[in-house]
Amino acid sequence: MKARRRVAITGIGMVTPVGLDAPTTWVNLVAGKSGVDEIRGFDARGFPTRIGAEVKNFDPAHVIRDRKLLKFGSRAHGFALVAAEEAMKDAGLRPAPMTAARWGCAVGAGMMGVSFGEFQKVHAAAGADGEFHPDDLLDPEFPADPVGFCRSQTNAGLALLTRHFGIRGYATAVHTACASGGQAVGTALKVMRRGHADFMLAGGYDSMLNPIGLSAFCLLGALSVDNDAPTRASRPFDATRNGFVLGEGAGFLVLEDWSAARARGARIYAELAGDGNSLSSYRITDSHPSGDGPIQAMGQALADASMAPGDIDYVNAHGTSTLMNDRSECAALRVVLGDHIGRVAVSSTKSCMGHLIAAAGAVEVAVCALGIHHSIAPVNANLTKFDPACDVAIVRDQSRPLRIRGALSNSLGFGGSNSCLALRHPGEVAA
């Protein structure tokens, strides 16, 4: 069998609740600083949950000069464009006419296309009495907005990214709920390995912090209701955890061929070494208590990366801070890591930045790459009360200096899609 192509992460960009770029996000994650606060983007005082992890003071026009392009984008698309721009700059690489067809793009896109403003307009025009009356949309007074419609399309963000950067090769948008970002990065890896692209822009973006998005999760009872202690609300693996905190943002990576990156003297954060992808086929919102599903994804990622549990020093857990996820994920970690369970550092950076839904997986792969690069395992904030069901080596109290030879990033979605990505320290790559 032909040796598999090795893929390098050479660019990172992030827009998160704890920073408008990757360096700021990283510093704040390492410091354990929380991005959770009362929701300020709209009046959430009446909701059962009034807190969230919002991206603060965001203005994409500071980074993206193309005003017309931004007009066609939603808030989440703005996050994506800014994070992708940072990743490209960071890599020192952009598509050029000669390379454009060899650049691909894979994104984990959020599920909400319709903004609350558009929704209100349709309600006022065709549903003011609570019922929908289609004919009222035909009223010449109804402000049908073609730009709003374009923004609402499932691949609108992908279209804006490929246009903005001139990416003319393979392009895809995926959505498997909370696993979306991880699956997008995994897809990018596979596309490069099968030779369909030489460079990939891969990431995820989402913003569900609007009245409907917040409603959707409140209705499911999935969110923490610790409204009086926002910075403590997201506490993955803590015995008193009571739900996740809804966040928003974007994370992007530039991926390129390992030898090409070495040849041009690029800074390589890490090797994107393996992808695991499984389906729990259990229930829509619940994970199997035994960890079945995530176990297969983690096992595949290790095998795909030619790694063993002994090669792993850090796991960035999905760690949503819900009762069920954290327990089931720890069960899976115990099975997969075996004897190494007491040694491998585990943290959920959702403890600081909340749950970025379709963006989460991509942002967290980037966090793993930075952890490898800086030799730091970022802290799992807010863990004060030990839960025996989560008896794994959580990075408590503060971030820890740690040379990370290998890392895993888990993303486990509603609907049972499980994504696990394996990363390797550049120093561990045989020359």
Binding site: R45, F72, L138, A156, R163, H175, S215, G415
Partner: protein
């Protein structure tokens, strides 16, 4: 190509306005009739465009019998679960799995993937919040306070774009690699391409690939109309008088297997997926390049992957959505690849409507039928080929098939272009 990399089709399933069996849909196309009719989901008599190819309401609940499940999924999900279920059923793999001991059966399931091209969210789902917003009279505090009494607690779960992946897994025990592709029109084509790539890379032994969508709703129709993309009465691809597309809906699926997986039970083989290509033209959301550059590249990538030359292609199933720009650039792309005399070209949207994320898998399943029957179906709504596009080998009449290899073109928002290459193969593996 080595046998280890052969991707075989062992089952198909489809539902759309033309029927809910592959056979009935095929027969409608052959008869020259279209499933386009006045919209029934709402009274569209006043609408500038009031026609579409809908799945009849009477058929909806027969598609998935589990009543509890019907309430947990969307209209598009019903289609997807049904079509994929049919493809799995036809493949006969459940019987083989039934003979395995528990550990081998678990391994079988872990090596069975699910790939969906999903239309994603709808406008209509947000209308479930209308009573709450009315009651709150615009006050968000009241909106939040009354939320739990006014909206179904399971609302979000019905909107998940990945419901078909999830429920196919639960219903059929598939637990392997998976993807839910939300890339608008090309989603279904990419689901097939990604499933095939996963099998080639050894990530799974078999995978079901399905495209499903239900785009027929007032807001979507209104916006398409305002953008000048909808025809008022008939979809006439490549015709002088073409005026736009017409919506369809539904789903179609294929069961894909490696040769070894199919051989393990001597499964009947319906066809073989030879290659795929996927590119974007980087033109933003709506625009297409007039010279068909992206589609031509996608086709060339598919031919390359398959290792076949353009001369070997016996028929082209064009995207043929009936809009001015797309049809003209598609002709340009086919000329770039095939020269002045491409193989016979047909398309199916004139009969089935444009089912967006489901369109390419419907085309794929019908192309397989065409290869098996040795006929390139005519485009019955074609009155007069647009002289600006002539010569171009489309016809209102059926044409003979000269070679058993079909190219399927799928194009969509975002400058997306996907090509699939398919060979018929009626043999027992």
């Amino acid at each position: 190509m080595s046998s280890a990399h052969r991707i075989l089709i062992t089952g198909t399933g489809a539902v759309c306005g033309a029927g809910r069996t592959v056979e009935s849909i095929w027969n409608l196309i052959l008869s020259g009739k279209s499933a386009v009719a006045p919209v029934t989901q709402w009274d569209a008599q006043q609408w500038p465009v009031g026609v579409a190819a809908e799945v009849p309401a009477s058929e909806l609940h027969a598609l998935v019998e589990d009543r509890r499940l019907q309430k947990m999924i969307s209209r598009a999900d019903l289609f997807g679960l049904y079509a994929a279920g049919e493809a799995i059923r036809e493949s006969g793999l459940a019987a083989q799995r039934g003979t395995l001991e528990a550990p081998a059966a678990a391994r079988f399931n872990d090596r069975s993937g699910v790939f969906a091209g999903s239309g994603g969210g709808t406008f209509r789902s947000t209308y479930e919040f209308f009573p709450l917003l009315t009651q709150a009279a615009g006050d968000l505090v009241a909106f939040g306070r009354d939320l739990e009494t006014a909206v179904d607690p399971m609302w979000l779960l019905r909107q998940l774009p990945n419901n078909v992946v999830c429920h196919l897994g639960i219903r059929h025990g598939f637990r392997g690699t998976n993807a839910c592709i939300t890339n608008q029109c090309v989603g279904g084509a990419m689901a097939v391409a990604e499933a095939a790539a996963a099998l080639r890379a050894g990530e799974a032994d078999r995978a079901v690939a399905v495209g499903h969508d239900a785009p027929i709703e007032p807001e979507t129709m209104l916006h398409y109309h305002n953008l000048g993309l909808l025809a008022p009465h008939a979809l006439r691809p490549f015709d002088r008088s073409r005026a736009g597309t017409i919506f369809g809906e539904g789903a179609a699926a294929v069961m894909l297997e490696t040769l070894a997986s199919a051989q393990a039970r001597g499964a009947p083989v319906l066809g073989e997926l030879l290659g795929s290509g996927c590119v974007t033209e980087a033109t933003g959301i709506l625009d297409v390049l007039p010279d068909g550059e992206g589609l031509a590249r996608a086709i060339e990538l598919a031919l390359d992957e398959a290792g076949v030359s353009p001369e070997e292609v016996g028929m082209v199933v064009a995207h043929g959505n009936g809009t001015q720009a797309s049809d003209a650039s598609e002709v340009a792309a086919l000329r770039r690849v095939f020269g002045p005399a491409p193989p016979h070209v047909t398309s199916f949207k004139w009969a089935l409507g444009h089912a967006i994320a489901a369109s390419a898998t419907l085309d794929l399943v019908m192309a397989l039928r065409a290869l098996q029957q040795g006929v390139v179906p005519g485009i019955a709504t074609l009155d007069e080929l647009d002289p600006a596009l002539a010569p171009f080998p489309v016809s209102p009449n059926h044409q003979p098939l000269r070679r058993d290899l079909a190219l399927i073109c799928s194009r969509g928002f975002g400058g997306m272009n996907v090509a699939l290459l398919l060979r018929a193969g009626s043999f027992r593996s």
